[in-house]
């Protein structure tokens, strides 16, 4: 599966063998080198159940699913990845795909506090400059990730933004990218049932009407997404 994963795609995991929890859980692919890796925090019913699975156990996984980030066009001078919390996952695999790109790559990362800051050294290995903001100021800049937007070069021709994180954060990214006419792709998430575009349960509102995050997305042009 790892070889067929594109940046931004996700896998749909049956976290237990029982009907509890009932739905599979979608996870953005975090790494896809030799094997597929996902990043999660055990906070809800599904992730807590997944955390209880033992190494070596088999999991029922559908994927890779959904569309992909479009890689930056030729002439891009600055790639900006903006991640919030666990939403950094698809940006990691994107940075793997961009590891050999010579342009400037930066990661702007926001987390609640120092304890929630994910280990970002692999972004650095991929040639990204990393800037962090925490809500409580316990690490990096004090405040929201928007405090780091001053690192972005606002040239619509040569800057490409990729973002994934909580909705308020992505709404701020949308506002900034629109004000500066920058291209920005956002990876969106909703509760999913089928993840195959059948049930239309995971739709989000866009300028083109409702679109499924599983099949039409998860990656959307941020201009189209109505947060």
């Amino acid at each position: 599966m790892a070889r067929s994963v594109g940046p931004g795609q996700f896998v749909h995991i049956k976290v237990t063998e029982s009907l509890e929890p009932f739905f599979r859980r979608p996870f953005s692919v975090f790494r896809a080198k030799k094997q597929v890796e996902v990043l999660y925090e055990a906070v809800g019913k599904g992730t807590v159940a997944l955390a209880k699975r033992e190494p070596g156990e088999y999991l029922d996984i559908l994927g890779p699913l959904g569309n992909q980030f479009c890689l930056p066009p030729k002439g891009t001078k600055q790639v900006v990845m903006i991640g919030g919390g666990i939403g950094v996952a698809p940006l990691m695999v994107l940075s793997d795909f961009l590891a050999k790109e010579k342009c400037e790559k930066i990661l702007l990362y926001g987390a609640r506090s120092k304890g929630h800051v994910f280990d970002l050294k692999d972004f650095k290995k991929n040639g990204c400059k990393v800037f962090v903001a925490t809500d409580d100021g316990s690490y990096g800049v004090h405040g929201r990730v928007s405090e780091l937007f001053n690192k972005i070069k606002t040239d619509p021709q040569t800057t490409a933004i990729y973002t994934c994180g909580p909705k308020p954060m992505m709404a701020a990214v949308k506002k900034f990218s629109e004000q500066n006419k920058l291209n920005c792709q956002a990876s969106c998430e909703e509760v999913m049932a089928c993840a195959l575009g059948a049930c239309l349960g995971c739709s989000i509102k866009t300028t083109k009407g409702y679109r499924t995050t599983c099949y039409d997305g998860p990656v959307f042009d941020i201009k189209e997404v109505i947060f």
Binding site: K14, L19, E20, R24, V191, A193, C199, C202, K205, Y215
Partner: protein, 302 residues
Amino acid sequence: MNLTVQIGNLKLANPVTVASGTFGHAEKYFDLEEVKKLGAIIPKTVTLYPREGNPPPRIIETASGMLNAIGIENPGADIFIKEKLPAFRKIGVPLIISILGHSDEEFVKLAEKFSAAGGVAAFELNLSCPNLQQKTLVAQDAAATARVVAAVKRISKVPVIAKLSPNVTDISEIALHAEGAGADAVSLVNTFTAMAVDVKKRKSVLGNFSGGLSGPAIKPIALYMVYQTAKRIKIPVIGIGGIMTPKDALEFLIAGATMVAVGTANYLNPKAPLEILEGIQEYMTANKIKDIKEIIGSLKEK
């Protein structure tokens, strides 16, 4: 082994189909050779005009089931016929088109459009969608059900199936009226009207406020409704309601269903319908049953 079943004059290779709205994008994700093994395919309900659908959240999981309030999002008949029907036809499995009109005339127009388009094996009338914010549903009114069935029957050359809502006092009574109006089969049950509350916000979770409960949680109730209905009418019953496994499907067949439609199970396991078909065949082999008709309605009541 004979697995064929019949709905009106339509012969189907086997009794397993997919419930409307639960099967999509076959061309992208499925091995078509596998999909071809299904007895029939019922795509998501089509309305005369495009429908945007309900605001999110549209789904939530529950204990052994889920609520949905999608709101019959669909591109409307014209675009469906132009853009989606060809791909469904290509699969080569009999297509049962689920239609929903907001009036008798709309049901008739839909049937006419699809009849003209061709390649439709039967119609399923969605009389029971609980998400359209109307006070009553056609399927909650025996006379209205009969009226719509009769209207479509007058112009349809292919069999007409009435899909019934479980949100009634006696579903077999509605089925009886559908049969009287000429329906070739009834399918039951659609979802049970239900809700979930967000205790932090003290608001209903679903964007549409209420939704429909489906999945294994409803199976025993659906099974009893199928049993009651099959006993009362002569036309075939398509059993629907939380069918996840071959055993679930066999329960419905034994209770009187001529066919089974797999719905919510598709969301957990897209191969569920095919695994259920294989399981039925294994059961027949193990029990030396040569014809599926030996199973249908074979429940011993004493």
